[in-house]
Symmetry: C2
């Protein structure tokens, strides 16, 4: 009897429908201002039903966010697949994150959720585990490139691949967050364009982690003057 399977599919469709409704509302209003009642209305279901599929508003929010992480992961995988050398791939990965930031701003903003664990009161352990899993997935993509970069002598080897990846990724992410939130202030108060600065930051960081061999081999990737040459 295929009834079991059909039921399973239908349940999956419900979950998916709820997810889409939630995405629309969360994108428009954000976590705080979105209400379960509105999501239920958009999903054309009663609120009670939402709770049959997701344990809490926050779980539902994270379920949407996981889609964003999947998109980012796919984009990074693409970049890695099409990249030629590790050093070039790293440059492209930084741009990929920026591209994701621009194309999927709403998803990017959902990542902020993790910045404030005080708010994580209603996240189930199960969902937390899911997030962890997705997170590891994307990091493994990124770190692989750094491993190869070190192997080929293109990246400094006094730091581990993971360490290098963390330093670059954290820094870029931080800048994107500020671009999202504080661009206007920096422009007005200091005359600084954070979007321009992001590029400079990327160049500076690349320069800081690359070896002289890398600079020799891929001079076009190094846009910033080496201060060591200056004097």
């Amino acid at each position: 009897m295929g009834i079991q399977e059909r039921k399973g599919r239908e349940k999956e469709q419900r979950r998916e429908g709820i997810l889409q409704a939630a995405e629309r509302v969360f994108f428009e209003k954000g976590l705080q201002a979105a209400t379960m009642d509105e999501i239920a209305e958009v999903a054309e279901l009663s609120k009670g039903t939402l709770y049959l599929y997701y344990k809490s508003k926050e779980d539902l929010y994270l379920a949407v966010m996981l889609r964003g992480m999947s998109i980012l992961t796919d984009m990074c995988r693409q970049t890695v697949a099409h990249g030629s050398s590790p050093i070039e791939t790293i440059v492209r990965l930084l741009d990929t994150y920026y591209e994701f930031f621009n194309k999927h701003r709403q998803y990017f903003r959902m990542f902020y959720f993790f910045n404030n664990p005080t708010l994580h009161t209603q996240v189930t352990d199960e969902m937390r585990a899911h997030c962890n899993q997705h997170n590891q997935r994307i990091w493994s993509v990124v770190i692989d490139v750094f491993v190869k970069g070190i192997e080929e002598g293109m990246l400094r080897s006094d730091l581990s691949p993971v360490e290098l990846g963390i330093i670059l990724w954290f820094s870029i992410h931080a800048m994107l967050m500020r671009i999202d939130n504080e661009s206007e202030q920096w422009k007005e108060n200091m005359g600084i364009d954070l979007v321009d600065l992001r590029e400079k930051q990327a160049a500076l960081l690349l320069d800081a982690v690359a070896t002289p061999e890398a600079r020799k081999r891929y001079p076009h990737l190094f846009k910033i003057a080496q201060p060591t040459i200056a004097s």
Copy 2:
């Protein structure tokens, strides 16, 4: 008649009392879980009275946060005042932020508030202006040092002092945030100690912004091997 002045003082004391009560509760519970009723109880006032002094829960939260910013600003001023050279002062400033992070973790966490503007629904323009003001204050302290560093030829001059300051400060802040929130995960999943990594990051960044002159003059401040020498 000094009645006006006395009244003014008393009002100020009320504000201060409310602030202290709010601090206790916010530190213990965080923005979300803290309730105005509990703050009122701790302050030994009715909830209505709180709203005579602060326009919203979020305004009150930010008022507490501003104390944290003042502490950080003072610590940075101290560091700058006692520092000898700009390059050394920069190293010390990075440590100062880390010291603040350790000694005043609860204040540091309040800074997260700005990471998620979706939540800023109840902040008054007045309070926002206050925050802006305090923010500029601390940045001016930091940036001054970078100005001097460039003037003395100790910092690369292809980026402006503000740009250099932003890149370093953002990166360090991002790392501290992760240390606060994700230390365990990184330890478990990847065997990475983010506290150790913070030092390496600081060293790497310092190295990226300093000139060869600086390295020559203050060799003890540069703990990371220059990859340029490697080959």
